[in-house]
Structures are given as structure tokens and as C-alpha cells.
């Protein structure tokens, strides 16, 4: 008995060692991609040469996928050799018809398998979004188990792969994009980031929505404006400018930061820094007529003025100044509403949500062609802007 026991133990030990480490891969043997960009299809620059030499498989080049792989250490990359030494990352692009197929194609070009656990940013080019629906483009990204639903989705004006180029010796572009999206505490031009999970929800509700837009020039990228995705087709129909985006964020109650600059009576700049903002949308239904009352209450301070000797701290001065700012705010808001209702006919400000909450039965009837109904409904906005302080300065005698 004891002998057979000993034998059994021996066999068990050997089996245990044989099995080794199931599905384990050391972390340094993996390539993480932090950024992913989707462009309209055309062979990537390096790919052309490869294809000419015969590295081909049947495809129609609907899509150009670029991933940003970190770290670049010890990787024989196909990309620019001069970048490789100093840069902590490298980008690799491939074209094809399916994202996964392109990813697998990367496996014959890279020495390490790519994993998507740490994907932070997805950048889609506006051109591609005008051709393909967001649903088609993000289908794989949502199905894949590695990719987190918390990665944010951005739209780039022009080539999306340019966004990921970045400057050598600087921060990884994907990481700096994430950092930039956190600047909402300073300006409402940066919208609340749309994560993959939120994007999924919005796509499936067939409502129109906006995605933050990026503009790249040279090697610099900035958050500028927003791209409007029409719910019914899921494609991009146009974009909003920076001020419109800021107003949209305010209107949706998702941000209360930003500055309003006006020229005062002397023609000198006068700047209002927003400290708080509340926006309340109240829907009204009268028969077939749907209308909205919006109440915007904001406070802030006068933070900068170029007028000489204009250091009055009286209430009258505050009232007078706030009137000027209010006018500017009204102008900006009216411009935004005009764009939403007339130019694009897309409700991206959440009017429909308020209607659905207040009048669910009405919403059920109108939701299928809501964007059209929205463009016809009447929106009246009331403003209340007050100046609470003037900052600090030394009194002139």
C-alpha cells in the first residue's frame, strides 16, 4: 500500500510539473496597445512595399487600422528606425476589411502578441464615420473581451493615424489624450468623455449624439469641437465649433467651466470666468406641439479687464457687466440651438431625454422621428447670469 502510495505521489508531482503554467505569458513578452485609430481604407505606407513584394491576402481595404504599441523597448519594429531608439512607443498600421483580421495580421509582423487590456483611446477619422456607421466600426471593439468598455472614443478631423504620431521623446499620445480629456475642470470645451460603453448605449438607442473632435496640425493635437453622429443612420453629419461645444456642454448640465469674453463699452476685452452653472430643461406638450423651456443660471467672477482704472466693485457695475455677458451667452446659445435645430436637425443636447422622463407616452409616439420633431419644436431659454466677485486688485487712490 505504502509503495503504491509513493508511486502515486510521484506521478502526481510529475503531472503537476508537466502541466506547467497554464496560459501564462510573462508581462514583458506582451505588447500592449494603448491607442487605436481607424481610418478610411487605403494601404498603409509600409504595407505598399510589402504588398508589392507579395505579402498579400485577399481584401478590399475598407479600413486602415493603426495601433500604438508600448513599450517599444527591444522590439524590431517595421516603423521608422530613427524614432525607435528614443521613443517609448511605436505605431503600426495595417489595412483590411475587419479589425480582428488586421490585428491577426500584426501577429506576423511583430515579435510579441498584442493585448488590448490597456487600450485607452480609440480615434476614428471623421471621413470614415461619414462612410461607415459607428455601429459597424465599434462592433469588434465591444465584443472583444480584452478591450475595456471604459476606453474613450474620439473623432479626428483628417487622418486619425496622425493623432497617434506624437512628438518623439514626449509622452505617449494615447496617454496624453487621456490627460487632456481630464481638463474638463478648466474648460467645458472638453466634453464629458464618451466611453465605449456609453457609445454602445447611444448607438443602440438610435439617438443622435456627439463625439469629441480632434484636430491635428503638424504634430500637435487639440480637442476642438464635436462631431455630430445622426442616430438614424449612425454616421457623421457634421461638426460643431469650439464655442458651440462649450455651450452644448453647459446646456446638457455636464460642465460649468469656461470663460466668456466680451468687449466692453470702451472696446477693451472684459472676461467672465464661470464658477457654477445650472441648466434645467423643462418640456411642455400641448396637443401635437412640443416646446421646451430652458433655464440657465450661472455665477462667476470678472477675472480680467483691459480697461484702465475700471476697478469698480459696486453692484451697479456688476449688474451692468453681467448684462453684457448675458447678451454674449444668449448669442452663443442661440447660435448653438440654431445649428442643432436647423443646420443638422439632431438633438444631441438631451431634450428628448427630458421629454421621455416627463411625458413617456408622448415620447413613445415621437421617438422614431425625434430629430425631425425636435427641429420643429420651440425652445425658449431664460438666462440668469450673476457676478459674485471681481477677483483681487489693489485699490487706486
Amino acid at each position: 500500500m505504502l509503495k503504491s502510495l509513493r508511486k502515486l505521489t510521484g506521478i502526481l508531482c510529475v503531472l503537476l510539473l508537466l502541466s506547467g503554467c497554464w496560459s501564462s505569458t510573462e508581462i514583458e513578452d506582451l505588447a500592449l496597445y494603448l491607442g487605436l485609430s481607424l481610418d478610411a481604407g487605403k494601404p498603409a505606407p509600409k504595407e505598399k512595399d510589402l504588398e508589392r513584394k507579395g505579402a498579400r491576402y485577399p481584401k478590399q481595404d475598407k479600413l486602415l487600422v493603426t495601433i500604438q504599441v508600448v513599450p517599444a523597448v527591444g522590439v524590431a519594429s517595421n516603423e521608422d528606425k530613427s524614432l525607435e531608439k528614443s521613443s517609448p512607443f511605436f505605431n503600426i498600421s495595417g489595412s483590411g476589411d475587419s479589425i480582428l483580421q488586421i490585428f491577426r495580421q500584426f501577429s506576423i509582423r511583430l515579435d510579441r502578441p498584442i493585448i488590448g487590456h490597456h487600450l485607452k483611446v480609440i480615434v476614428i477619422s471623421a471621413d470614415l464615420l461619414k462612410k461607415q456607421s459607428a455601429e459597424q466600426l465599434t462592433d469588434f471593439l465591444l465584443r472583444d473581451n480584452d478591450i475595456r468598455p471604459s476606453c474613450i472614443v474620439l473623432v479626428s478631423e483628417g487622418e486619425a493615424m496622425d493623432v497617434l504620431v506624437g512628438t518623439p521623446n514626449k509622452e505617449i499620445p494615447a496617454v496624453s489624450l487621456i490627460g487632456m480629456s481630464r481638463n474638463r475642470s478648466r474648460t467645458s470645451k472638453v466634453m464629458r468623455p464618451v466611453t465605449l460603453a456609453r457609445l454602445d448605449a447611444m448607438i443602440h438607442s438610435r439617438k443622435s449624439f456627439v463625439l469629441q473632435r480632434l484636430i491635428t496640425a503638424g504634430k500637435e493635437t487639440l480637442f476642438s469641437g464635436a462631431e455630430i453622429i445622426k442616430g438614424s443612420i449612425g454616421q457623421s453629419i457634421g461638426s460643431l465649433g469650439e464655442d458651440d461645444t462649450m455651450c452644448l456642454t453647459w446646456l446638457r448640465g455636464e460642465g460649468d467651466r469656461g470663460v466668456i469674453k466680451v468687449n466692453d463699452s470702451k472696446g477693451e476685452p472684459l472676461v467672465f470666468e464661470m464658477k457654477s452653472l445650472k441648466s434645467k430643461i423643462t418640456p411642455h406638450v400641448e396637443g401635437e406641439e412640443i416646446s421646451f423651456d430652458v433655464k440657465i443660471t450661472t455665477t462667476g467672477r470678472i477675472i480680467e479687464t483691459w480697461s484702465k482704472g475700471d476697478t469698480s466693485t459696486t453692484q451697479e457695475y456688476a449688474d451692468e457687466a453681467s448684462k453684457i455677458f448675458e447678451e454674449e451667452l444668449i448669442r452663443m446659445m442661440t447660435q448653438l440651438i440654431h445649428k442643432l435645430q436647423d443646420t443638422y436637425a439632431a438633438d444631441v443636447a438631451g431634450f428628448g431625454d427630458q421629454l421621455a422622463i416627463k411625458y413617456p407616452s408622448v415620447w413613445k409616439k415621437v421617438k422614431d422621428d425625434w430629430d425631425e420633431r425636435f427641429s420643429q419644436s420651440k425652445i425658449s431659454i431664460s438666462y440668469k447670469l450673476s457676478i459674485t466677485d471681481f477677483g483681487s486688485f489693489s485699490e487706486k487712490k
Partner: protein, 546 residues
């Protein structure tokens, strides 16, 4: 019929089912066999309790009584022990009446000056025949505080060699033991293994009578009872069971007494022997008796309804039964105010978790789940691990083993070298290993945190247990990742919840669930709230008498 057939699973499901049944079944069989094997080798059926060797009736089988003839008695004693070189034999006349006496003692076990000045002087010049008349009177008339009579030569000889001063006097038909041993003892010092900042600084010593007196001195009570056992076949030793007779559970006491009296061993070198001989489960890595050097800890255990076992020659008392929560409790928890003590106790639980699982978690993260590490950290880990040639398990084992060796070496090193060795080993070797690219710097942090955490265990034995289990956890993690780590933890939990110490579940009050006792588990509730004794001990008195 054919539709019924489609519900019968295919053959590989049957194979899996059989395997799923056989593996745990065979494992439990194997463990049962191993346990039975160890037990049969450990304890035998014989050995009844011998209450005291000092009482006259406990004569051994080969008893040779004194026959009353002085010369013959001295000769027979000399026959037994006369060859010992450290034995001093002094014959002297009793001058008040014409008789002779012989004094036996072992060098170094008596205060010789006292023996000469007082005892010999008394016998040689003052003792009268009346004083030494017939046996019933001997005790009453001799001016010795610690006088014993021995009727048996062998026993007399044995006690003389143990340190008593023995006396044989002409005309007295038995041996007299006049002074108990007085050997040089270690001073009472602060307990080494359980030093505290606040609280009593007294620690047990190797002398049983001192230890029991320390317990007695904790307070006035007539309920603290101590029972003495003599254990050891070749070299018997005294073992004492202490308990409060109005508190302790009768069944528990009976069980402890039974197990103690069943011990069959040559010689008890330390109370660790007793612990291993009476514990419930030989195969468990967890200690099932609490050992302590602190009288205050023992007395607190007794007041909770536990039983203490003290052994002559060991400064470690055992407290039975022990539960898991005791391993992480320090007496200081009760001496400091309850808020900081609760904080420290929770911290200790956290440290225990770290010292058990930190390397496993590191391995599972590095080798299996890179997605669970924050991105920035992943990047820096990858960079630091670039040159590391080993998989994470080997990497961790290299460093963990070297730190264990270092610790083991640190115990043996003489005091002046110890700290220097720690610095050389810890800092220089660690740094050099990183420089050489054998391990990654993150791992050095993990291992250091693990090592420090394991030092925060109030009980040294519990610390060893966690250190040992850590390695099993690492193997699990290396094979199955986080899943393996969780599996390991669950295995440990199921073992612990099955483990019993003297009939008390090891995990009480967590399982079985006793909410009342949670007051003294993760937190230490204010003392005024803890009016009842622990429910798990099923004491005779439920309430502490306040």
C-alpha cells in the same frame, strides 16, 4: 427511446464525473491513512496518570524500603548513587546522644553554607533523641520547613540526585529530605518573543514553581486550580494544568487531562513536545495550541475559560484550545485604548493577508493578468522586467528563498553581527540582484513588504505557518493565476473551517457564526462592552463578574 438516449451524456463526461469523484475521495482516504499512521506512531494506549512522585505512596515497582539498620541503609543508598562524582556524602556524629547520621547532597544544588552552619550544627549539637523518636513525631519536632520522609531507597536516591539534601540517621527507619533543591536560576526577564511596549514586562522562566507562582500572583482567588502530572518515562518531569474551576468547561478540562495523561514519551525537553503530542491534527500547518511566555496572557486565557499547560523547564506555557483569531491578537490590544487597538488589529489582519498572498498576487498579475495592473505601472514593470530571464515564479522563489535563508541565518548569528548581516543580505543582495537583472525592482518591494508583514504577527509560530503557506500559494498562482490564488485561499479556508482544537472550531466565531464574539475579533470593543466570556468556550459562568 431514442429521445431518451440523447439525454445520456457522452463518454468523456462520464470520465470527468468519475475523476471528479475519485480525486477528492482518494485524497481524503490518503490523508486519513497518513493521519492514522502518524497517530499510531505518536501515542500509545498505556501510561496512567501518576499524580506525584513526591508523595510517599508513589513507589515504583522495584521498591526497596529502608530496613532501619543505619549501616545497611547507607550502604544501599551508596550502592544506588555512590558512584556519582558530584555527590557529597558526609557522615557526622550526633553528640547529644550516641548516634551517627549521614548527609547526602549533590554539589551545586544546595546552599552549602547554610547546610553547614544550620543543619549540621543542629544535628551535631542540638538534636535530641526525643526529637528523632518514632516516625510520626519526626516531622513535628524537627525545625525544618520543607521536610519530607522517604521510605524507599530508590526514591530517596532519586530525589537526592534531583537536588534535595538527604539525611539518614541512626535509629530512624526512613530517609529524611530536609531541603529542596536550590539551583541557580535565570533571572526573570521580559519575554523575548512577545515584547510589548505597554503592559506587564514579566515573562515565564524555566522553573515551574516560579511560573505557577507568577500565575498565582496575578490576583487573589481560590478558584485557580493547578494539577500536577509527572510525565516522561526515562527522565520524568512535572507538568501542571492550570484553570479556573468555576469557569472552565468540564468537558474541555476532562479532554485536556486525558490527553496529558496519555502522553508517553522519554523526555519532555520543552512544552513544544506536549503541544505536538496532544494536538488534534498532525497534518495541519496551523498550531492548535497557543504558546506564550506571558503570564498575563495565560491568565486572560484562563479567565476566558481556557486551560493552560505549564511544564517544568520550559518558559512557554500552552493555552488550549486555540482559535485562529488568537494568532492575530496581541495582549497590547487590551492595554491600549480600544480605537487604536482596533486599528492595529485590523492592520494585523491585513498584514497576515499580505504575507500570505502578496507574492501569489504578484505572480498572477505578472504572468496571467496584465490587464489588472494600472497602465502606468504596467509600463514601468515591463521596462524593469526587460532583462529578467526567468518566469515570475522562479524570480519570486529566488528572492523569497534567499530572504527566508537570511532570516534563518539571522537567528543563529551572534548579536553583534546580526544587524550587519541583515543590511548586507537585504539591501546589498537585493540591490545587486536588481542590478544583475535577475529580479525586477517591483518584486523587491513585494518581497520586502511580505517579509515585514510576516514579522507583524504577534505569535512567532503563526508567522512561520504563513511563511510556509506562502510558497504553496505561489505554486498555485504560477499554475492557475488568480484563479489558482483564489483556489488556494478557498482550500485554506475549508481546511481551517474543518480544523478543531480540543473540540472548539478553529474559525470560531466566524464559522460557526457567533456574532456575540465578534466584539473581540476584527475590532476590540470597549472593555465595558465585553461583559460576557466568549460564547465559544461554553464556560460555566457566562458573565464576567463585574
Amino acid at each position: 427511446m431514442s429521445s431518451l438516449k440523447s439525454f445520456i451524456p457522452s463518454w468523456h463526461i462520464w470520465v470527468l464525473a468519475v475523476v471528479a469523484f475519485l480525486v477528492p475521495f482518494l485524497l481524503s482516504k490518503i490523508f486519513a491513512r497518513v493521519h492514522a499512521y502518524v497517530k499510531s506512531g505518536g501515542t500509545f494506549k498505556s501510561a496512567s496518570a501518576r499524580t506525584s512522585v513526591l508523595s510517599p505512596d508513589s513507589s515504583s515497582a522495584a521498591a526497596t524500603p529502608f530496613d532501619g539498620d543505619y549501616a545497611a541503609d547507607v550502604r544501599s543508598v551508596m550502592d544506588v548513587i555512590g558512584k556519582n562524582s558530584d555527590l557529597t556524602v558526609r557522615e557526622f556524629p550526633l553528640s547529644r546522644f550516641d548516634a551517627k547520621g549521614t548527609l547526602f547532597y549533590v554539589n551545586g544544588m544546595q546552599r552549602e553554607r547554610e547546610l553547614n552552619m544550620r543543619t549540621l550544627e543542629f544535628f551535631m549539637f542540638e538534636a535530641t533523641r526525643e526529637m528523632l523518636a518514632s516516625p510520626p513525631n519526626v516531622k513535628g519536632l524537627l525545625p525544618f520547613y520543607n521536610l519530607k520522609e522517604s521510605a524507599d531507597v530508590r526514591e530517596f536516591s532519586r530525589l537526592v540526585l534531583f537536588g534535595y539534601a538527604g539525611l539518614i540517621i541512626e535509629g530512624v527507619p526512613c530517609g529524611l529530605l530536609i531541603q529542596s533543591p536550590n539551583t541557580s536560576n535565570r533571572a526573570i526577564v521580559e519575554p523575548l518573543s512577545e515584547a510589548l511596549l505597554r503592559g506587564p514586562r514579566i515573562g515565564f522562566t524555566e522553573v515551574l514553581s516560579e511560573n505557577t507562582s507568577m500565575l498565582r500572583r496575578q490576583g487573589f482567588s481560590d478558584q485557580l486550580e493547578m494539577k500536577s502530572y509527572i510525565i516522561g518515562n526515562t527522565l520524568p518531569k512535572e507538568v501542571v494544568i492550570a484553570y479556573f474551576k468555576d469557569i472552565v468547561n468540564a468537558d474541555l478540562l476532562k479532554e485536556v487531562e486525558a490527553r496529558i495523561s496519555n502522553i508517553n514519551i522519554d523526555f519532555l525537553a520543552d512544552s513544544g513536545y506536549i503541544e505536538q503530542l496532544i494536538e488534534d491534527n498532525y497534518l495541519s500547518p496551523f498550531q492548535q495550541l497557543q504558546n506564550t511566555e506571558r503570564p498575563d496572557r495565560v491568565i486572560n486565557g484562563l479567565l476566558e475559560g481556557r486551560v493552560a499547560i505549564l511544564q517544568d523547564g520550559s518558559p512557554f506555557a500552552l493555552i488550549a484550545p486555540a482559535t485562529f483569531s488568537m494568532l492575530l491578537q496581541s495582549p497590547e490590544d487590551y492595554y491600549e485604548r480600544w480605537i487604536p487597538s482596533s486599528f492595529l488589529r485590523i492592520l494585523r489582519f491585513f498584514a497576515a493577508f499580505l504575507s500570505l498572498l502578496a507574492p501569489s498576487i504578484y505572480i498572477s498579475f505578472i504572468s496571467f493578468h496584465p490587464g489588472l495592473i494600472p497602465t502606468e505601472l504596467v509600463l514601468s514593470i515591463i521596462e524593469t522586467r526587460q532583462g529578467v530571464p526567468f518566469p515570475s515564479l522562479i524570480e519570486v522563489l529566488v528572492l523569497e528563498l534567499s530572504i527566508e535563508i537570511l532570516r534563518e541565518a539571522g537567528i543563529r548569528l551572534p548579536k553583534p553581527i546580526g544587524p550587519a548581516m541583515g543590511i548586507v543580505g537585504g539591501i546589498i543582495v537585493g540591490d545587486a540582484a536588481v542590478q544583475a537583472g535577475i529580479v525586477s525592482p517591483i518584486l523587491v518591494i513585494v518581497v520586502a513588504v511580505t517579509a515585514i508583514s510576516s514579522f507583524s504577527m504577534p505569535s512567532y509560530s503563526a508567522g512561520i505557518t504563513l511563511r510556509l503557506l506562502r510558497f504553496f500559494g505561489m505554486v498555485f498562482a504560477a499554475i492557475l493565476g488568480m484563479f489558482g490564488t483564489i483556489l488556494f485561499f478557498l482550500l485554506l479556508c475549508s481546511h481551517l473551517s474543518r480544523l478543531k482544537s480540543f473540540g472548539v472550531s478553529y474559525l470560531t466565531p466566524v464559522s460557526p457564526y457567533r456574532l456575540q464574539d465578534w466584539k473581540d475579533l476584527f475590532i476590540r470593543a470597549p472593555i465595558s462592552l465585553m461583559k460576557k466570556r466568549p460564547a465559544m468556550m461554553k464556560t460555566r459562568q457566562e458573565r464576567r463578574q463585574t
